[in-house]
Amino acid sequence: MDDDIELRRLIDTIYSRYHYDFRRYSSASVRRRAVQGMIALGCKTFSGLEELVVQDPAAFTQLLQYLTVQVSDLFRDPGYFRAFRERVVPVLRTYPSIKLWVAGCANGEEVYSFAVLLLEEGLLDRTMIYATDINPSALQAAEAGIYLLDRMRAFTANHQASGGTCSLSSYYTANYGSAVFDRTLRKNVVFSDHSLATDAVFSEVQVVSCRNVLIYFERELQDRAVGLFHDALSLRGFLGLGAKETLRFSRHEMGFDAFDAEERWYRRH
């Protein structure tokens, strides 16, 4: 449509003014998200929205909530976590210490899923989890570990389907409609702001889990992100992706072996 150029300008301005780089995100989704943000912020055009966010950083903070997609669940796709438990954990057990990077952790659902699983497998004490995202309010929510109690029924079913050995309810306390996850779960979790689009590798890790983030990237940016994972992973380290993501179109496909193709676990070589 004719406002393509305006949208491009908005995205360029966000990058130069706030250093959030959406320039190589998949156009269809960015447009959809930007339209939602535009409506929510009471603007009529992308140019109007651009003007607003340039003048008002608070408006940009609001827009960021629309530009990033925070949808997640505990143990989303239970088969993924089951494969991790049954096939990856036995390998990790042989390591003296483990570092796990959850890239694009949203409100923390994936982080608590891994923490619960590793606790059940007796590995949480020797695991360091890096939980990263570009959305500061998501990181805050992730650190707080508080979810609507209404969601726990579905999370519990997922946890069971993933091979959970204890009751999920033993890891949180219910409090006025909220479920507050036990703080000991995040004893070894570092939450930090990190962009797969602009930042560099920060540590060597044995496992990367990056789910439902790459689907929003254009191929080039995907290649950048997978390149980071390749560089961060130790030899024979594990990479897990979302249910509809593969390395098939990636420049780095040759740098990994399929470990559990169905559940999207890969291994670095």
């Binding site: 269809a28 447009r31 997609v69 949808v71 689907i215």
Partner: protein, 197 residues
């Protein structure tokens, strides 16, 4: 057979289809009747998240076109039918590839017909045809409006020939230029739109 108003303006480069209750049976009256070299067809059907893969597998053996589940980055090609995977929105990018998203449901649906139609309208403009089949929701009405805004056209299953008329009726109410076509004539109406010079 085809109303004069449906005669081709721009050539048809893609068809987007949406349906809900009763749509799997209705699709069975449409997709198998499309020829192997037909323009690409992208389909959103509201199904339970517990029935993944099924749709593409169900239709593949019955169709002359290649039937696939849509994957991120897959180029949208003539001769192919792309089904939205269960629990993901299907969108079309500016450079005419499939894109998936797990953003929240729209009209209580993921995948949502509006999400597919709106993004496809941006990518294909006047060369897009939307088809709304039987269903009990209003998903698709806003999408059809956006298709019309971009110069594309929309056909709906004649409400009297549906299992549930709500969805096509909502489109007819929202988009004056939408045409109702009986289910039995839908495939030939589409073929005629593609053939017309």
């Amino acid at each position: 057979m085809v109303p004069a108003a449906l005669g081709a303006r721009a050539g048809v480069e893609a068809v987007v289809v949406g349906g809900s209750a009763g749509a799997v049976a209705a699709l069975g009256e449409v997709l198998p009747k499309l020829p192997a070299d037909f323009p690409p067809v992208l389909v959103v059907v509201h199904v339970l998240p517990s029935t993944p893969h099924l749709l593409a597998e169900l239709f593949a053996p019955r169709c002359a076109m290649r039937v696939l589940e849509a994957e991120s980055f897959a180029a949208i090609e003539r001769g192919c039918v792309y089904f939205a995977p269960a629990d993901y929105h299907l969108l079309v990018t500016r450079d005419r590839r499939c894109a998936l998203s797990i953003e929240p449901p729209v009209n209580f649906s993921r995948p949502s017909i509006d999400v597919l139609f709106e993004s496809a309208a941006v990518a294909f403009g006047p060369s897009l045809v939307g088809v709304v089949l039987t269903g009990a929701s209003h998903d698709g009405a806003e999408g059809a409006r956006v298709i019309a805004e971009g110069g594309g056209r929309t056909l709906v299953q004649e409400p009297a020939t549906t299992e549930v008329p709500v969805m096509p009726a909502a489109v007819l109410a929202a988009v004056p230029s939408a045409h109702a076509v009986p289910l039995a004539g839908m495939a030939s109406a589409l073929r005629a739109m593609v053939m017309a010079p």
